[in-house]
């Protein structure tokens, strides 16, 4: 019966630790949110499952030689997976609304104040005993305010890999919570009259403009912010493949099979960073707190900027569309549309909100590039 004893000693029961159990519960919680509540399921299902697998005693799936270890080092430590996701997202994104109304880029810029204010907040949190965020840590945490998963993972993998798990979880969770976080802020900062403003119809955008747009974005990034070119470059490659019309095979693959395969592995790899010893720390609480702050400040800045532009501009701008500047594509744009309909049931803002929404993606990639250039 020596064998049965050995077998018993190899069970999970005989090797559990409380932190590992708590992390598995966190993994189950993420699965619950994803499956029962529909919170960003494409990422939270693999992340939650990865969190469970990572914390299994004895098995060592995230230790050197384990599946999750390989996936993390090949895909995230190298920065490859977030860039492939970004290429796929680029191939999925239609910039028509932004090209038709480029001033919307101001809203995408304003919403990045969520990032930089949170950076300051993260350093200020060091006054609380137990927190010792460096500038790199604070930058990686602040990028949660960009409301853009791959950007957050890419920057965190470069600046603060040990915080990556908490940052990714916070980013995707708050992106899923956009319909809960944003509306109160939007209502607080606007009057019913402002929320009823109808916006002029957008002009038609030509094929040629759509093809030149990603090349122009890339050119400016090369000129002014080369450190953002991995992110912006892959995004523009995806978008160029989409719009150029001669490589539909590649564009379809980039926005379907390739992004799906990468998403499964990216999720598992992020989950591998939810090991108890790295996640169950006071820093994680700080990150969750700062992430909520970042989203809220970003939303408010976007709305304020839209109010300002509405006052200064001859064309009316509904201040609600400013909230879409945080990206969280396309949730934030939908939320804008919904809140707008409450005040004026004939006012469909979705298309107008897509402009700041995709501007927010560019804005946070630019912010990430600035942080990489100055802090990285």
């Amino acid at each position: 019966m020596d064998g049965l004893l050995n077998l018993w000693q190899a069970t999970g029961i005989a090797n559990f630790t409380l932190p590992a159990l708590i992390m598995m519960a966190v993994g189950c919680g993420l699965l619950y949110l994803a499956i029962a509540k529909g919170f960003e399921p494409l990422l939270l299902v693999p992340i939650g499952f990865g969190a469970i697998l990572t914390n299994i005693p004895v098995a060592g799936l995230a230790d050197p030689g384990g599946l999750l270890y390989y996936v993390y080092y090949i895909g995230i430590d190298s920065g490859v997976f977030p860039l492939l996701i970004f290429m796929g997202v680029g191939a999925m994104t239609d910039f028509s609304a932004l090209i038709a109304n480029p001033r919307m880029l101001f809203l995408g810029a304003a919403a990045q104040f969520g990032i930089f204010a949170t950076l300051f907040g993260a350093i200020a949190l060091n006054y609380v005993p137990g927190f010792e965020f460096t500038l790199k840590d604070a930058s990686a945490i602040a990028i949660i305010g960009g409301a853009d998963g791959p950007t957050a993972i890419f920057l965190a993998s470069k600046l603060a890999p040990e915080l990556l798990g908490a940052i990714a979880v916070a980013a995707y969770s708050y992106m899923a919570l956009v319909p809960i976080i944003q509306p109160p802020i939007m209502r607080l900062l606007t009057t019913p009259e402002e929320r009823s403003i109808a916006m002029p119809q957008l002009r038609v955008v030509s094929k040629k403009e759509k093809i030149l747009f990603p090349l122009m974005v890339l050119s400016l990034t090369i000129l002014f912010l080369p450190s953002a070119t991995p992110l912006v470059g892959m995004f523009c490659l995806g978008n160029l493949m989409r719009e150029c019309g001669v490589v539909d095979r590649l564009s379809n693959t980039a926005q379907n099979e390739l992004i799906n395969i990468t998403t499964i592995f990216l999720g598992l790899a992020v989950g591998s960073k939810l090991a108890a010893e790295h996640f169950l720390t006071v820093e994680t609480l700080g990150i969750l707190l700062l992430g909520a702050l970042a989203f809220s400040i970003g939303t408010a800045s976007g709305v304020y900027m839209a109010k300002l532009m509405n006052r200064l501009s001859s064309n009316p701008i509904n201040p609600l569309v400013g909230a879409a500047g945080v990206s969280a594509v396309p949730m934030a744009a939908r939320v804008v549309n919904k809140v707008g309909l409450e005040s004026n049931p004939h006012n469909f803002l979705l298309m107008h909100a897509m402009g700041p929404n995709v501007a927010g993606v560019l804005g946070s990639a630019v912010a990430a590039g600035i942080l990489l250039a100055l802090v990285g």
């Binding site: 064998g3 239609d94 594509v329 469909f348 979705l350």
Partner: protein
Amino acid sequence: MDIGALLIQAASLMLTGMIGVFVFLSILILAVTNLSKLAKPDTGAPTVPTTRRQPSGGVPNAHIAAISAAITQYRTKQ
């Protein structure tokens, strides 16, 4: 190691292994039986909200949907 000793180890492994497999799958039987009891009451209409629910927060999927909806809306306006 002589073959006799190996054979004894193999026999022990056979015994341990079959006990292990049966114990494990028996526990699973118990669990699945309880699972049906657990999940049964709420098989009704209102409590199956997850079934085929389109990923309302799923970026890429929803992304496409929203963008194409917006484009459709936008084009039909013209």
